[in-house]
Amino acid sequence: MNLEINVTETDNQNVAYLSGEVDVYTASKLKETLTPLAEQSDKNLIVDLSGVDYIDSTGLGIFIGTLKTTEKTGNTLMLTGLNERVRRLFEITGLNEVIDIEVDNKREEA
């Protein structure tokens, strides 16, 4: 399985659109993309997971690492477009309490 990442940068935020699976095989690619984005000063990071069906624990670790990086630089990390399965993973692990997760209404109804 592959992971496609597209990034759009504006003045005050970076948005990374992910599509595919975030797992042990794609985690390092994701980390390479997200870490420099999280390190940019005065830019909040939004990760759009609308195209992601599955995240494993290694993938989850990348979001934790990214969160820690944004905390250091004073930025915020927000996740959007989580499907049911992925949202459940963030709930079980309690990460929804420390990472800002935007509830996507469209996905919710589907």
Binding site: S57, T58, G61, I64, G65, I92, T93, V98
Partner: protein, 337 residues
């Protein structure tokens, strides 16, 4: 070495003479044996070619010059193969060394897990833990204190293999320093979280569920650090419910509170703890759902706790064609009296 060369020379000469005389299959078989021996004696392909030439020159005295010269070319070509072969050998030696180091580490890791069964009148306990590779990122523990309280834990380190295994031993050592918190699941996880947060890579984390059963009051008190929820079976209602507790995974933030929950167990009720290797089992490319797992436990619930976990492992292993993708741990604790 010189002696070996002489004896190999003689051997090759006998073989070649015999083959040239009667072209027998037998001699070809000998050639196969000879090639094994060459490898054992670390002879390179170019040495073999050169051996062939010397022997042949002795047997057939008037070799045309072109034939002899052509061997120079062949020798040159074989040198490349020789180098590749030697590299292959040194990699193989290195691999053997790594493998044996890994075996030692795996044995050491096994010694971190509890051994010996707990046989008690109050509870029936069963546990199985199988690593996907040589080393496991899953940790489990069961222990008995002097008042008969039984503590049980299942922890799952992100990823698998050696890095996961190293973090898993951190949990074990930290647990050993906290005997006084064995009856305070929340405080125990808070202490472990502080240790993990300071000592783990920023992309890594550990999930864990810890609880203990009080054999006189018949309750189970537990807390979870982002761990895959377990199950509790109620015999009277013949129902399974999710054993959930809120709490952040270990290693993310230093100040986390874990709130313990308590449930009462009647005779025959049981608790199921698991690692996500159980629910990450894929059958026909689909993840097994928690409901399917409940059905499997239901099917075997008349058996002893140890038999249940073993049967479920066997069924899931078979369904995945014996290819475990993640470390697998399943623990059952049932109130007996």
């Amino acid at each position: 070495m010189e002696e070996t060369k002489i004896s190999m020379y003689q051997l090759y000469k006998d073989m070649l003479t015999s083959y040239l005389k009667n072209k027998s299959e037998h001699a070809l078989y000998h050639a196969q044996q000879f090639s094994k021996e060459m490898m054992e004696k670390d002879m390179s392909p170019e040495e073999t070619v050169s051996l062939h030439l010397s022997v042949f020159q002795e047997l057939a005295e008037d070799l045309p010059e072109e034939v002899v010269d052509s061997f120079d070319l062949l020798l040159e070509v074989m040198i490349g193969y020789g180098l590749a072969y030697r590299e292959h050998q040194s990699l193989r030696d290195r691999q053997r060394q790594i493998e044996s180091e890994l075996n030692v580490a795996a044995r050491m890791q096994k010694s971190l897990l509890p051994n010996g069964e707990i046989s008690l009148d109050s509870v029936d306990l069963g546990v199985i833990s199988v690593p996907a590779g040589k080393m496991s990122g899953d940790y489990y523990d069961y222990s008995l204190d002097e008042h008969g309280n039984i503590g049980v834990a299942v922890a799952d380190v992100i990823g698998k293999g050696v890095p996961a295994a190293m973090s898993m031993s951190m949990i074990k050592y930290a647990m050993d320093t906290l005997p006084e918190q064995r009856l305070e699941p929340g405080a125990l996880l808070e202490s472990l979280n502080r240790v993990v947060e300071r000592n783990i890579d920023s992309d890594m984390f550990i999930t864990m569920m810890y609880g203990f059963y009080h054999p006189e009051e018949h309750y189970f008190s537990y807390a979870s650090a982002g761990h895959e929820p377990g199950f509790v079976y109620n015999l009277e209602k013949d129902s399974f419910e999710s054993l959930e507790a809120k709490g952040l995974v270990l290693g993310v933030s230093p100040k986390v509170r874990y709130k313990p929950d308590v449930i009462n167990l009647n005779v025959g009720d049981f608790i199921v703890l698991l690692s996500d290797g159980v629910t990450e089992c894929r059958v026909d490319e689909e993840f097994i759902e928690r409901e399917q797992l409940v059905q499997m436990i239901r099917k075997y619930k008349h058996l002893s706790a140890q038999e249940i976990v073993e049967q479920i492992y066997q069924d899931l292993e078979k369904a995945q064609e014996f290819q475990l993708r993640d470390d697998f741990t399943l623990l059952i604790l049932r109130r007996k009296v």
